[in-house]
Symmetry: C2
Subunit: 410 residues, 2 copies
C-alpha cells in the first residue's frame, strides 16, 4: 500500500496559527471551552476543513465534525480527533495536535485524490478540559450517550453561564445526530509524561488509561481573630489542610515513578487575612497503573488525614468516590499503529495514559486507539508545554497509515 | 461624685437587637462595612441616638456621631465608641459593645439630667474590620488625618464597588467636619484573648497594643497536568505553600503564650484540580509584646521559607514590611479606669491588645484608653463569639465613671 505524504510545514503552521488565538505572553493559550477565543479557533478550524472540501457538521453539544465520504455508503466513518479548548493557562499542543493532525491526514488524502471505503472524519470535541465546565470530556460523553444532553446543556461555569447559552452565543449549537455508529476512533496526543522523552522513543502506542482518582478533602476549623486568638484556642482549617497537602505530596513521591498523588486546588471560607478560616476544601488526585497500587495510595491518604486530625484536633472529612477504572484500548488498532511506526522506522513503546482523554469516552462506543508523541519534561497544562515539529509530523504520519490500513482491512 | 445607673437590660437588649441585623444561623453576624445590613444597623443606631436626644452627624467617610452638649462651649468632646461593621462571619460583640456601651452611658447621663462640662459623644467608625475594604480602621484613620479622604473614597471591594459609591448608596455620605479637636477617647471592647477569662478578672485596663505584622509570602511553581505530570517534574506552588503554612503555625505555637503567628488566607492561580498551580500567595500574621520577640518571629519565618525553598526547589518570596509599632495608651486615663473599676469592686489586669482597634488611630490625636472585658475562650471574628451580660454591663459602668471623672478633672 502507498501512502500520501503529510504536509509537515502546513501542520506546524496550523498549530502555530491556532496558538495565536487566546495567546498568552509566555507562549501558551487561554482558550477555555465556549469562550470567545474557543469560538474564533472553531471558526478557523471550520474554514480549514471547508478549504479541503470536507463536509462540516455540528451536533447539539457543539462537537464539530469534518467528513470526507467513502466509496461504500454502508460503512460507518473512521474518526480522528481531539479538542481545541485549553486549560487556563494551557499549552499549544494538548488537544490541537490531535485535531490538526487529523486534519493533516485528511488534507493528505484529499490532495492525493485517494479513495477510501469508509468515510473519514476529523472531530473537535467540546469541553474536553473541564477547566470551565465540569465534567471534562463533555462533548464525547454526550456523543456516546454516557451523559445526557439536557444535563450537559444545563452545566454552568462559575459565573453562572450555561453550556447551552454559551454554545448559542458562539454559534456552535448544531443539530447533527448524536450516538451515530463509528467504525473506529484514533486520537493523537502529546504524552503529558516523560517516559517517551527519557527513553528516546518517538511513538507511544497507548494500551489504555491508568486508574485515576479525584477526591475531595474537607477540614473543619473555627473562625477566630487571626492575631488576637491565643494559639492554643486556634482551630485553623488552613493549617490542617496544609498538613494534609504536605503528606499527600510525600505519598505521591513515594509512589514515583509508577503512581502519583498531589493537591492542586484549595478553597477557604472566609479567605481573609484577619479571620482564621473555619473551612478548607481541597481536591486531591492520584493515578496508578494497577488497582492494588491505587488502593494503597487511598489507604496512605486516609492514614495521613487521620494523623492530621490527631495532631490538629480538627475534624477532616475525606470523600471516597470510586476511581475511574483503567481503560483498555483496542489491540487490533494497536497492532496497526505498531506496524505503521515500524514501517516508518520509528521506535515505539507501549504505555498507558495517566490523564483523561476523549478516547476514554469513545472506547465503549467503538474500537479506539491513542498515539502518543513526546513532550518536553512531561509538562502540559502549562504555558511551557513544548514538543518538536518532527514528533508532531511523525505521530501524524503514523496515524494516517493506521487509518488507511484500518480502512483497507475493516 | 455620684454616678447615674446604667440600664443593663436595655444595653443587652440593644446588643441582641442589633445582632438580628445580618444574623447568621449559628448566632453571629454578617454585617460587612457599607453593606445593606450595615446600612440597616446604622439606621437603628441613629434612631436610638435620636431617641435620647443626641444630635446626630455623619462625616464624609460615614463615621456617625451622637452628641450631647456640655456646659462649657469652649471644651472639645469626650468621645466613646467603636464600630458596627463585622467580619464575614463575625460575632455579636466585637464592635457593637463599644458603640452601644457608649450609647448606654449617654442614655444614663441623659436620663439623670446630668450636666457635663464637655460635650459627650458616641461614635460608630466606618469599616473598622477591613473585611470588605482594605485597610481596616478606615473611618478613624480619615477622621484623624492619617489617611486622606480621596484615597479612602476610592478604595474598592473585590466586586469593584468603591467606598464613595457605597456610602452614597446606603445614604451615609455626610459633611460633618473631620480632624476636629477631641478631648479624649474611650473604647470598650471584648478582649479577643483569654487572659482575663483565665485569670477570672472582669476589667482589662489596656496599656496599649502589641507589635503586629501582616506580610505576604509568594510561592512560584510551574503549571502542569495534576495527574499526568511525573512527580519529579512537578513544581506545585500549593505544596510549597503548605510547607510554609505548617512551619509558621509551629512557630506561632513555639512563641505561645507571649506571641502568635499563623496563616489565614491563601490564593492560587489557577485554582483548578486538574492543573498544578504556578502561583500561591498567602498572608501571614504575627503579634508579640516586644520588638525583639517580633524580630525573632520574623527570623524564624524567613528560615522556614528558606528551608521550604531548599526542600521543594521552588522560589518563595517573602515581603518584609515594617510591623505596626506597639502603641501606648494614656496613663492618666488608665488611672481613671483603674479607680473606676476599684470603686465598683471589680478586679483589674493591665494588658495589651493583640488586635487592631480604632483606638490605635485615635491615640496620636487625643488621650486614648481602651477597656477590655472577657470573652469566651478568646474567640472573636466568629459566629461563636460569646460574652456575659454581667461583663458587658461592668465594662460600661467603668467607662461611664471614667468619662465623668475625666469631665470633672480635665
Amino acid at each position: 500500500m502507498s501512502f500520501p505524504p503529510i504536509d509537515g510545514d502546513r501542520l506546524w503552521s496550523d498549530l502555530m496559527t491556532l496558538a495565536r488565538i487566546g495567546e498568552l505572553p509566555a507562549g501558551g493559550c487561554d482558550r477555555l471551552a465556549l469562550s470567545d477565543a474557543d469560538g474564533m479557533a472553531r471558526n478557523v478550524f471550520r474554514y480549514w476543513m471547508e478549504e479541503i472540501g470536507l463536509k462540516v457538521s455540528v451536533d447539539p453539544i457543539g462537537n464539530m465534525v469534518g467528513r470526507r465520504e467513502g466509496t461504500d455508503p454502508s460503512l460507518p466513518p473512521i474518526m480522528m480527533g481531539s479538542h481545541l479548548d485549553t486549560q487556563q493557562p494551557g499549552g499549544k499542543y494538548d488537544g490541537p495536535l490531535g485535531v490538526l493532525g487529523g486534519l493533516a491526514c485528511l488534507r493528505a488524502i484529499a490532495a492525493a485524490g485517494r479513495a477510501t471505503r469508509h468515510p473519514i472524519e476529523v472531530v473537535n470535541w467540546t469541553n474536553e478540559e473541564g477547566a470551565r465546565f465540569q465534567p471534562g470530556l463533555l462533548g464525547s460523553a454526550v456523543f456516546t450517550g454516557q451523559l445526557d444532553l439536557e444535563t450537559a446543556h444545563a452545566t454552568k461555569d462559575v459565573g453562572g453561564r450555561s453550556v447551552f447559552d454559551e454554545l448559542r452565543r458562539i454559534r456552535y449549537l448544531g443539530d447533527a445526530p448524536l450516538q451515530r455508529k463509528v467504525d473506529s476512533y484514533f486520537e493523537l496526543h502529546i504524552e503529558q509524561g516523560d517516559r517517551l522523552e527519557k527513553a528516546g522513543i518517538t511513538i507511544g502506542n497507548v494500551a489504555g488509561c491508568e486508574y485515576n482518582l479525584f477526591a475531595e478533602i474537607t477540614c473543619h476549623g473555627r473562625n477566630g481573630h487571626s492575631q488576637a486568638t491565643p494559639m492554643d484556642q486556634r482551630a485553623n482549617a488552613l493549617a490542617a489542610a496544609a498538613e494534609v497537602i504536605v503528606a499527600i505530596e510525600e505519598i505521591g513521591r513515594r509512589h514515583f515513578p509508577a503512581g502519583s498523588a498531589g493537591v492542586a486546588s484549595l478553597r477557604l471560607w472566609p479567605n481573609n487575612r484577619i479571620n482564621i478560616p473555619h473551612l478548607a476544601r481541597m481536591s486531591y488526585s492520584a493515578t496508578h497503573p494497577d488497582r492494588a497500587g491505587m488502593a494503597q495510595i487511598r489507604r496512605e491518604v486516609t492514614e495521613a488525614v487521620e494523623a492530621a486530625e490527631t495532631r490538629t484536633g480538627l475534624r477532616i472529612e475525606i470523600e471516597q468516590p470510586p476511581e475511574r477504572e483503567a481503560v483498555d484500548f483496542d489491540a487490533s488498532l494497536g497492532a496497526l499503529v505498531e506496524r505503521a511506526a515500524e514501517e516508518l522506522g520509528h521506535s515505539t513503546m507501549s504505555l498507558r495514559s495517566r490523564a483523561g482523554h476523549d478516547a476514554i469516552r469513545m472506547a465503549p462506543h467503538c474500537p479506539t486507539q491513542m498515539i502518543f508523541v513526546p513532550c518536553k519534561d512531561g509538562i502540559s497544562h502549562s504555558e511551557f508545554e513544548e514538543m518538536t515539529k518532527q514528533h508532531a509530523v511523525a505521530g501524524t504520519e503514523v496515524m494516517l497509515r493506521a487509518v488507511l490500513a484500518r480502512d483497507g482491512a475493516a
